[in-house]
Amino acid sequence: MVVQGKVHKYGDNVDTDVIIPARYLNTSNHQELAAHCMEDIDKDFVKRVQPGDIIVANKNFGCGSSREHAPIAIKASGISCVIASTFARIFYRNAINIGLAILECDEAAKDIQAGDEVKVDFDTGVIENLTTGKKYQAEPFPPFIQNIIEKGGLLNAINDRL
């Protein structure tokens, strides 16, 4: 699987309250959530984002709440992939479970700037910054997690077992 898009860049500790504020948690509708994605850190994100775009951030992305609404909002907004130095553990788990593509790569997260055009190949884990020409190698997923992703999410993988 290959994705390509423009980068929206953030810093450390982007938490779930800014990704999808609690005042919007009285819905589980994906499109309604997408309309408020990143609102409390970047209120123009929803106007700028195009399908296929990529979020790049530094440490501890998605920290805070377990709200699955956070990766849901990001995925439904059209973002194809999130690259970060590190992910908070519940967000990481949720993203995999719902099929939001994520990659951990500290070097890429530090180098890539807002507005860069970036391509990601999930089979090889290679991140290519088409704007600067630089390439980075991300950590591959363990086979167990690759299986969940290949099946399109946790429940599909479970269905196979049930």
Partner: protein
């Protein structure tokens, strides 16, 4: 090779003689939990995957606590969805208005979680039950759906940080100060993916309310879970309360820890986490009387228990909430509400000019029951203070213990209770 307490519980529930850090396992669950925000998404996923029945109707807890009593039509519809699911599958432990409490206060109180358990919850503060010597961790709604269908969850076995506690807490210093101090030391990702294993002579001096508070905020250091050893305090708490079999797991003497953090409880001071991260801590000595506030919240899964209510009452007794300050006190369960009332604490609160609420998570996550306008500041006994956590993006939340929160309500500034 030796295992940590967390690793032992995971091994036992995965049916394995031993596990190592980094290993991926599937573990049988004693309980899985959801609330009115996370369960609707789980119900959607459960129905979508075609699961026809739940694995065990006695091992699922659904607690309607975040936006209840229903804060608006959408919240009412979310709760209705969960209620209908609970009725359809005859879920034993469905908690609704009038019979509920904040989930991480009501589950231990009602004996639904106990020593040796393996528990997941679709709420990040599910790590709270580690105080009882259980492995307990927060997950997402899809994990909850899968758990309701299969009774299992996958885990990556965490490595551990040992937190060695010595000494005992001084007057006005509480479990909240211990955990804020710890997060201030190691940072909001200082324990990322790891278990925080609390040990040492200092554990014995910590009450169960203190331990529940400390374990509750393990997630704020990025931890997978926090866990306390099972001792006389634990057994006294669960005796006659916990409905299933107590299982005691102990770390091996040769268990491996990535690092050791030492905290002398005797040296701790009341601690405050400044906006906008729980790691942004200062001692009360560094900020006493300097920060003017508009609101105080005393409650939540972190500090809404009896000791917290009593601490607030001790400070507010015979005093008044400062003019211009709104003080909102939220006992975390119906039982705590009843006990607080019977102990005369509500007389103290109302006469001081504070508001007393039915159990709810309410303002903690900016839901309802005490939202902040632009430019307003709150001192809160809750667990997070990210941007916009309790209201407008230009409001501020300062995290503290009930003693500091109540003292701040009296003066209108962040205050050391010892200086009142």
């Amino acid at each position: 090779m030796g295992m940590t307490m967390t690793q032992k519980i995971l091994a036992a529930h995965a049916g394995l003689p031993e596990v190592k850090a980094g290993q991926l396992i599937v573990a049988k669950l004693d309980l899985c939990l959801g609330n009115d925000i996370t369960a609707p998404v789980a119900v959607n996923e459960f129905e979508r995957c075609g699961a026809c029945k739940v694995f065990d109707k006695s091992r699922i807890a659904l607690v309607m606590d975040h936006f209840t009593p229903n804060k608006d039509i959408k919240a009412a519809e979310q709760v209705k969805r969960v209620r209908e699911f609970a009725n359809k599958f005859d879920i034993d432990n469905y908690f609704d208005v009038g019979r509920m409490g904040v989930e991480h206060a009501v589950l231990p109180e009602q004996g639904l979680v106990g020593p040796g358990d393996c528990v997941i919850g679709a709420d990040s503060h599910t790590c709270t039950y580690g105080a009882l010597g259980a492995f307990s961790t927060g997950v997402g709604s899809t994990d909850l759906a899968a758990a309701m269908a299969t009774g299992t969850a996958w885990f990556k076995v965490p490595s551990a940080i040992k937190v060695e506690l010595t000494g005992k807490l001084s007057k006005y210093v509480t479990g909240k100060d211990v955990v804020l101090h710890l997060i201030g030391m190691i940072g909001v990702d200082g324990a990322l993916y790891k278990s925080l294993e609390f040990t040492g002579d200092g554990v014995a001096a910590l009450s169960m309310d203190d331990r529940l508070c400390i374990a509750n905020m393990a997630i704020e250091a990025g931890a997978k879970n926090g866990i306390f050893p099972v001792d006389d305090v634990t057994l006294a708490y669960v005796n006659g309360r916990f409905k299933r079999e107590v299982r005691i797991f102990e770390a091996d003497p040769d268990a491996e820890y990535e690092s050791v953090v030492k905290i002398d409880l005797s040296e701790l001071r009341p601690t405050v986490a400044f906006p906008h991260l729980p790691e942004n801590t200062k001692t009360i000595d560094e900020c006493n009387g300097q920060v003017k506030i508009d609101q105080v919240v005393i409650g939540s899964c972190t500090n809404g228990r009896m000791e917290d209510m009593r601490a607030a009452a001790e400070i507010l007794k015979g005093r008044k909430v400062a003019k211009g300050v709104r003080c909102i006190i939220i006992p975390a369960t119906q039982q705590i509400w009843l006990d607080s009332m019977r102990e005369g604490l509500f007389d103290i609160f109302i006469e001081a000019g504070a508001a007393v609420s039915t159990p709810t998570c309410g303002p903690c996550l900016g839901g309802h029951m005490g939202i902040l306008a632009a430019g307003e500041r709150a001192v809160s006994t809750t667990n997070r203070n990210f941007v916009g956590r309790m209201g407008h993006v230009e409001s501020e939340v300062y995290l503290a213990s009930p003693y500091v929160a109540a003292a701040s309500a009296v003066t209108g500034y962040i205050t050391d209770p010892a200086t009142l």
